[in-house]
């Protein structure tokens, strides 16, 4: 394409260096050079990275949901109906109103670890979830939520275990372990729970925490009961803690000071735990424990598996750490006979 003469003239004019244009050009160049200088100065890092990761730990505090001034108490109820058993146990402890006040927001930490049906006993039984949610709401709780960070896929676990449906039927909400629900936490004086992601969202909302777990055989730790149940509040690659299972269970029990724990021994998984998978792994024990002392509950629970307190090192370690007592008979202890309708 040919260049028109007038464009040529304009070009020439533009390239003529008047004083005004010269100063403008100098100012422009200087401003850019200065800008680059400032940008460099602002970003300058003479030492380089001082650690291997930028990720700083945010430390969060966890509350206490127990009543430290209330004498520890425990009720053991024999019976095959979970709903009646848990109602009777709470009645024996002074009524649910003693623990759940009007306006409370209650977290039911269930064991929903596996996507297996309730009959197999690997997860908290939905009847028990429904009964507890109803009891809390009747006692005036503003809100009840059910949560766990299961091993299997969370949605599948909540659905197949029947816990999700039971919770919603009774008026509770299910909180799923979404990635943004976790925050790093360090337990004071802990060896293991240090800057570890904890399922913080439900804990943060709760004014009361109730742990609800079945009694299960667990090859590594000996037994999975209410203390081991808090494992489901950990995130991250939590399985590394199996290297030191007794310490992690002890630290979990120190981390969560619950309002109550409910230990379900209606059917006990005697072998092949904690997954089970067959009805033949279960034995009928018709026993349900409600306690303000999780260690006492688990110490009693060990007997349902045919184990003594000495067989489970974490029980002694937890006692030393001040979690509670293994000598449950020293507590305000209620033992109720068969509950039938």
């Amino acid at each position: 394409m040919g260049v028109k003469p007038e464009t040529d003239l304009q070009e020439k004019k533009k390239t003529d260096l008047s004083r005004r244009r010269f100063l403008l050009r100098v100012a422009e160049t200087a401003a850019l050079a200065l800008g680059a200088g400032f940008a460099y100065y602002w970003a300058y890092d003479p030492k380089g990275p001082q650690s291997l990761s930028r990720r700083a730990a945010e430390l969060e505090k966890l509350g206490t949901w127990s009543f430290p001034d209330m004498p520890a108490a425990m009720a053991v109820v024999r019976g095959e109906k979970r709903q009646q058993a848990v109602e009777a146990a709470l009645e024996a402890l002074g009524g649910v109103g003693k623990f759940i006040k009007r306006g409370d927001r209650v977290l039911l930490k269930v064991n929903a670890a596996f996507a297996t049906p309730p009959e197999l006993g690997a997860t908290t039984h939905p009847e028990l979830v429904e009964a507890l949610v109803s009891l809390c709401l009747r006692a005036g709780a503003a809100e009840v939520f059910v949560a766990d960070n299961p091993i299997n896929n969370a949605e599948s676990c909540m659905r197949i275990s029947g816990i999700g449906a039971a919770a919603e039927r009774a008026g509770a909400r299910v909180l799923l372990p979404r990635a943004d629900a976790f925050r790093p936490f360090t337990l004071p004086d802990a060896q293991l729970i240090r800057r570890w992601p904890v399922f913080f969202d439900p804990l943060e909302r709760a004014t009361k925490v109730i742990g609800v777990a079945p009694v299960k055989h667990h090859n590594r730790s000996g037994a999975s009961m209410t203390m081991k149940n808090w494992y489901g509040l950990l995130g991250g690659r939590r399985n590394v803690f199996h290297q030191d299972i007794n310490t992690i269970v002890t630290e979990l029990a120190r981390m969560i000071r619950p309002t109550l724990v409910v230990l379900d021994g209606t059917f006990v998984m005697m072998r092949n735990g904690p997954t089970g998978g067959s009805l033949s792994d279960l034995e009928k024990r018709d026993t349900l424990i409600v306690s303000t002392d999780q260690l006492a509950a688990d110490s009693f629970g060990a007997s349902l598996l045919g184990k003594s307190v000495d067989d489970l090192p974490y029980l002694h370690m937890a006692e030393q750490a001040g979690v509670g007592t293994t000598n449950y008979r020293a507590l305000e202890f209620h033992e109720l006979g068969s509950q039938s309708s």
């Binding site: 297996t116 299997n152 949605e155 909540m158 979404r178 090859n219 690659r237 007794n246 998978g277 370690m317």
Partner: protein, 586 residues
């Protein structure tokens, strides 16, 4: 109402329907999640899926019979599917429209003129159908899913678009963000085909789409068609400014290329030279592209004849079978699987744990984008009580199993559960096996009953644990011989015992030179001067190949975070008896 408005409503409806079906394939309690929606409807309506799998398997699987509706509609009205239904076509039309914005009359006519390259799609169709029809060494190669627009768009939405949007917005439909290995390529091709519309509108539809080619071949027989009402018109070329099919409506119409967009009828032709009618055009018709002669057909078929052995030279169907090609439960034997899988990604989207991935090229070119399990990704291996993948598979490459059949209970008890592979313990990486460290997370998580992973107990002397007892006081032992790391043996897993064996005492606490055990030291067990050893109680995991189903939950949970210490490979999978480990399983 104007016909093009109706067409647009139809297009938007089917596009929304596609997105909706992909979206609802999410496990959960919400009403919009997985509630019997016919999520495979569009795939079922796709006659290319039906015809190609009919050629490769000689059967027409279940829902694919719906595609007869599409064929009949095409025989009656022409390529209504392309212009009114196909969601991929709708996207192309939209992007083509964007590309033409602000362009003048001449540019638009130029964009929508017929191009010789439009014959390419027929060659693609013939080559793919040839591959599907030819049972080379007993197995034909179904590759139609690479370019068939319905699987293409499902794959793109399922594996690239939806997960990217979830990632971008931080709001996942499931509780965990979904990941798909190799999804970048799927997404890039999707974007690429959309951007191609800026070059030529409906680039994919006109030039590449094998389904369009198939419907084009059918539509030459269609009853109703676009036709000129006179031998010649004023040649104003207004109709060509918006012709989606680039089918020369104002000349001898290329009837196979017409997408039934009806843009040319829509008040464009002022003199009403164009009509939709049964009688053929007064200006005459071109039934098929002139380049699609005998030579073209033969060349396409010859290509397919060569392509199949070429694809198989890697030997991935034989001795070079990839051990990590673990297929979802219910998958047919590999050859039969590949005769059916159309790479639509439905199984990968529905999988609640996100363990199903599109295979990359390492499993063989033929297996590209077919479902394979990756136990590192996802929330927890293959769920024992889940059979979702087989129930959304449109072609039964993954058979729809019942839970009963998958688990091998009830009337399937004798045959046992469906195995997709077997777990192997890597003794060099496993903490109890190699590093004197208790673990057995794999055993804990093994979901079979009885557990396929079992343990053998061993009390193994620890490194630097040979000591001599200096004094004994109740539960406390003062020892010498090594400096002990404080608290290192206080986990409940360590014991002290006489060096030659004997009573083991559990260590509850230790300092550099003292041990506290769990009960008063019995006098007959230890005394001052006894040589003792600290031993660790280890439970070493083993896998019982008769019980292992290959679910991979162990691999997912293994705390050795890099290359896992227990890994599932395809050995012993039910669908392939030659992969059996033991004679009893063959």
């Amino acid at each position: 109402m104007r016909i093009v408005i109706v067409r647009r409503i139809s297009q938007v409806f089917f596009l929304v329907l596609l997105l909706w079906f992909c979206l609802v394939m999410t496990v959960g309690e919400e009403w919009w999640q997985l509630r019997g929606w016919p999520v495979g409807l569009l795939l079922d309506l796709d006659p290319l899926v039906a015809v190609a799998t009919l050629l490769s398997t000689k059967t027409l699987y279940a829902g694919l019979a719906w595609s007869l509706v599409t064929i009949i509609v095409t025989l009656l009205f022409g390529r209504i599917f392309c212009g009114w239904v196909c969601p991929f076509g709708t996207l192309h039309q939209f992007f083509g429209w964007l590309g033409q914005l602000g362009r003048g009359h001449r540019a638009r006519v130029e964009a929508n003129r017929y191009r010789r390259a439009q014959v390419v799609k027929y060659f693609i169709l013939l080559a793919f159908l040839g591959m599907a029809a030819w049972p080379f060494k007993g197995a034909s190669a179904l590759q139609i899913g690479l370019l068939d627009p319905i699987p293409f768009v499902h794959r793109s939405v399922n594996l690239a678009l939806l997960p990217s949007v979830e990632f971008l917005t931080g709001r996942s439909l499931a509780s965990a963000q979904r990941h798909y290995s190799g999804a970048w390529l799927i997404g890039l091709l999707f974007i690429g085909t959309l951007l191609a519309n800026f070059y030529i509108p409906r680039f994919y539809c006109r030039i590449l789409c094998p389904l369009g080619a198939l419907l084009g071949l059918i539509s030459r027989f269609s009853l109703w068609r676009i036709a000129m009402t006179a031998p010649r018109c004023t040649s104003c070329s207004l109709c060509e400014t918006a012709c989606e099919g680039a089918c020369d409506p104002a000349d001898k119409i290329r009837i196979s290329e017409c997408l039934m967009c009806f843009n040319c009828l829509d008040d464009v032709c002022k003199k009403k030279f164009l009509a939709y009618r049964v009688r053929e055009s007064d200006a005459g018709e071109i039934k098929l592209p002139p380049d699609l002669g005998r030579r073209g057909v033969l060349a396409s078929l010859a290509t397919s004849v060569l392509a199949v052995p070429l694809l198989r030279l890697e030997g991935t169907l034989g001795t070079n079978r990839k051990p990590n090609l673990v297929r979802p439960p219910g998958s047919l034997a590999e050859e039969e699987f590949l005769e059916r899988c159309i790479k639509c990604g439905q199984c990968m989207r529905v999988c609640p744990t996100n363990v199903l991935m599109p295979a990359g090229l390492d499993a063989g070119v033929e297996a590209l984008w077919t479902p394979v399990l990756n136990f590192r990704i996802g929330t927890s291996g293959c769920q024992v009580n889940c059979v979702a993948c087989g129930h959304v598979c449109p072609t039964a490459a993954i058979r729809p199993l019942s839970i009963e059949e998958k688990r091998g209970v009830g009337r399937f008890a004798e045959r046992g559960p469906i195995r997709i592979g077997t777990a192997f313990v890597d003794h060099g990486r496993c903490l109890p096996w190699a590093m004197d460290t208790p673990c057995i997370v794999c055993e804990e998580n093994c979901p079979t009953a009885p557990k396929a992973i079992y343990v053998r107990e061993e009390y193994r002397p620890v490194r630097g644990g040979n000591l001599v007892v200096r004094s004994i006081d109740g539960k406390n032992l003062i020892v010498s011989g090594a400096r002990l790391a404080p608290r290192a043996y206080a986990t409940g897993d360590y014991f002290v015992q006489p060096a030659g064996g004997g009573t083991r005492l559990r260590i509850m606490a230790n300092t550099v030179d003292a041990l506290t055990v769990d009960r008063p030291v019995p006098a007959e067990a230890l005394s001052e001067g006894t040589r003792v050893t600290i031993v660790v109680r280890l439970q070493k995991p083993y896998v019982d190949p008769d019980l292992c189903i290959g679910c991979g939950i162990c691999e997912h949970e293994c705390p050795v975070s890099g290359l896992r210490a227990i890994r599932v490979t395809a050995e012993n999978e039910s669908r392939n008896s030659s992969s059996a480990l033991r004679l009893s399983q063959m």
